[in-house]
Subunit: 481 residues, 2 copies
């Protein structure tokens, strides 16, 4: 029989090859177990509200009013909404032509892009141009668009950290490019070694690959590290020498849980370095309302900012954005609110500040609880989560566990994570979904379960892990270490 | 100097080749003029709220409450919101895990997909499976995903109507496939002739193209026709014989302005036809909250439904959807509301019904006013807008106008539309952006300007057009006709 065009054997090979572990085998099995009535703790995706984080009140008030502008004329509106939320809703509605129901410009509302440019200017100490900021339905869509712009064919390579967030590997495969991995150093707190980068590029070139871009995720996903200033400077220099675009995934810039290495944007460091690099290196930086203390994942609000791109290329990116008309407008309003939160003196300032501080401080405590919890487990070693929303412990699987996994036809860390899921309901992502060095195994979990549930979760993890190790450990072999 | 990876000469050729006229030269010029203070009537995009259409109250109340769930506990909530909106907000929130701020499943919320399946079942008289319905950030994103799944390389062809909505041509180019045009018959009210289709397929095959899919837009964009039942049946048979997937763009299914040819979905007709075709033909159907009497373009809510696709392919499409995590959740709620509007007996029923009827009836009157207006103009001939939101008059440009356009370095209809824009502020899209037969010229305008402004707009158009024709017409030449 002739296969039909949408039969599996007929479809685009790149679609089939793309792998996306965050919602892969573990997630599908967890969903099944949940349907069967098992209590599942979804720590596979950085999705704070799904694990009980409450939305910040002020932005939700503003967006609710923007959705229901007829309330602005209602004499009772003041009973349900504070005056500054009402004023802010009017402010954002005045930026639209027709409210939230109208397509905006395909790059996003000019007024919101201006507010973002002002935020970037304050953050970095250098003015930013709203014409070089494009809003998107979440940061992932922006990453996908930029990669689609860069990649011509399988000879175009993109340097991606390993371990990495699989958005990058999946998208590079989908658009037919080549992923060029560079390893982060677990022993150096997941730092980045420029020698590794050089080797990765040299190796790729010897295989005929033109390396065109480098991805950094700072703070790191899944690895949780914050890059030092000198590390950022080094990698900018490296990109400049090697003629690479830098794609800076900075969606966790508000999620910092230590004070030694505050977040520094790639853009600020680039501009600090001065000419020629500051005038020449091509940089695209990504941010979102899904992370930080906002966690507004479901709203799908993101943006990217382009530095040192030619107007002609910016026009091409604009044209492609216009094919799908416009990013969702409520998500754009959230972006405006994120970069322009209530200020001292505003009615909502105190409440907003208390809510956002409570989220961040609790995340900081949870980062610590989780790292300590993992490090208290047999054969588990875990770097501290300096930033972002994830813990990425190394699981030292005994040879017998690796054998058992082979027999079951599973990658060893998938085997471990499936057992963990069945035993405890904790739904993680195996390290193999992010990439890791040969023979070394990890898992990724978010630090997002509610703080009060964290001790029980970590106890449940420890019980499972220590029993698993007990079951599979070769005592004599282990005692020789 | 070595070009950088994001310099124009380095980027993906398919990005450069993709053309999207709806926001092309005319739109950019209109935006410039607007900045200079000229009053612009944007009829280039089907964006009803931007031209003054008010949102329907009930759905906005529900989504506002979903955005601000803390209001549900407020004793004053009943002063601003009717009880059925409150109940409906609770209903949709109960479908989420964590409200609008949490990512949903990458296919959309299961509860909303169930409501859509029920709607399709009622509409077509055949049950629909929610597992085969995927929600997207607007219908365009769904079209793009399906085309990306189908297209492997430039040897894969997609049959697209000409004139067509440029989403299709742009996306096929972007993903490296080949557009195979089939002409709609202007003289037969933009109907579809299966002989043309056969010729188009035969011609493409002789050039080594594997034709894999066929696009229909029903009701038509930009052409405004409603396909007859027999036309839909013929084209389904054609797809079956030729082993093509049918992509049915049915986003205007609620926009019908005549009673002779009510909307019939490709799916209903397919299932009416019975086996073997009903069990075998692969069909993907698209719908949205952006059109109809909703016009909620800025919310970016859409879905596609798959018929006769293998579970393996559905899994692949799910996997790729999961790369960008989830469609925006507020847009999903709008979809739920669209397929499940207030019912007789509900508090909001009367108001909702009045509002939606008012929009549809006014659109019907405007469709008539516009067609009649165009047909009253010198050298303009226009089919009636039976459905959708557009008028697509043919402009019979005199030879001297064509010469003048050539001298100005413009395509003749671009030349005409630019002059129209400068003279009247009416921002249209030239027919060449949608495709048209050689030597024949059109423009597309939406029928969306406010009804009370329509007479003045049509008068302003007529004045411009008739003067234009006066200026360029060769009287002796014309009198010979």
């Amino acid at each position: 029989m002739v296969p039909k065009p949408l039969d599996y054997e007929s479809i685009n090979e790149n679609v089939k090859k793309a792998a996306y572990a965050v919602r892969g085998e573990l997630y599908l099995r967890a969903s099944e177990l949940q349907k069967e009535g098992k209590k599942i703790i979804f720590t596979n995706v950085g999705n704070p509200h799904a694990l009980g984080q409450k939305p910040l009140t002020f932005p939700r008030q503003v967006v609710a009013l923007c959705q229901a502008p007829f309330l602005l004329d209602d004499p009772n509106v003041g009973l349900l909404f504070p005056a500054d939320a009402i004023a802010r809703a009017k402010h954002y509605l005045s930026m639209t032509t027709g409210g939230l129901g109208a397509y905006s410009d395909s790059r996003g509302l000019p007024g919101i892009r201006r507010e973002i440019a002002e935020f970037i200017g304050r953050r970095d100490g250098y003015p930013s141009d709203p014409e070089l900021i494009f809003l998107t339905d979440g940061a992932s869509k922006g990453v996908m668009q930029i990669l689609n712009t860069i990649i011509r064919n399988e000879k175009d390579g993109i340097l991606v950290p390993v371990p990495q967030y699989p958005l990058y590997s999946a998208t590079i495969t989908l658009y037919g490019g080549s992923l060029v991995p560079y390893y982060l150093e677990e022993e150096a707190n997941w730092g980045l070694d420029v020698n590794n980068l050089r080797q990765a590029v040299a190796g790729a070139r010897s295989r005929g690959i033109t390396v065109k871009a480098m991805v950094i995720i700072n703070p790191g996903n899944p690895t949780g590290q914050c890059l030092s200033q000198s590390n950022v400077r080094e990698l900018l220099q490296f990109c400049f020498q090697e003629n690479l675009v830098l794609l800076a995934d900075e969606v966790y810039q508000q999620n910092i849980y230590q004070d030694e290495r505050p977040f520094i944007s790639a853009r600020k460091m680039l501009l600090d370095m001065g000419p020629p690099i500051s005038k020449e290196l091509q940089l695209v930086s990504f941010h979102t309302v899904s992370k930080g203390y906002w966690g507004e994942c479901g709203q799908r609000g993101g943006y990217f900012e382009m530095t040192n791109l030619s107007p002609q290329t910016v026009d091409e990116i604009y044209k492609v954005a216009s094919i799908s008309l416009s990013p969702n407008v409520p998500g754009q309003i959230f972006l405006g609110l994120m970069v322009n939160p209530p200020q001292p003196g505003d009615i909502s300032y105190l409440k907003f500040t208390m809510e956002s501080k409570a989220v961040l401080e609790s995340l900081r405590r949870r980062a610590r609880m989780m790292t300590d919890g993992f490090n208290s487990c047999r054969n588990v070693v875990c770097n501290f989560t300096e930033g972002a929303m994830y813990s990425f412990p190394q699981i030292r699987l005994p040879p017998k566990a690796i054998e058992a996994a082979k027999k079951a036809g599973k990658i060893p860390d998938v085997f471990y994570c499936l057992k963990l899921l069945e035993a405890t309901g904790i739904s993680t992502v195996p390290g193999s979904g992010f990439g890791q060095k040969e023979g070394v195994f990890h898992l990724r979990t978010t630090i997002l379960p509610a703080e009060e549930e964290m001790p029980a979760i970590m106890a449940s993890f420890k019980k499972f892990n220590d029993e698993f190790m007990e079951q599979y450990e070769d005592y004599r072999g282990y005692s020789r270490l």
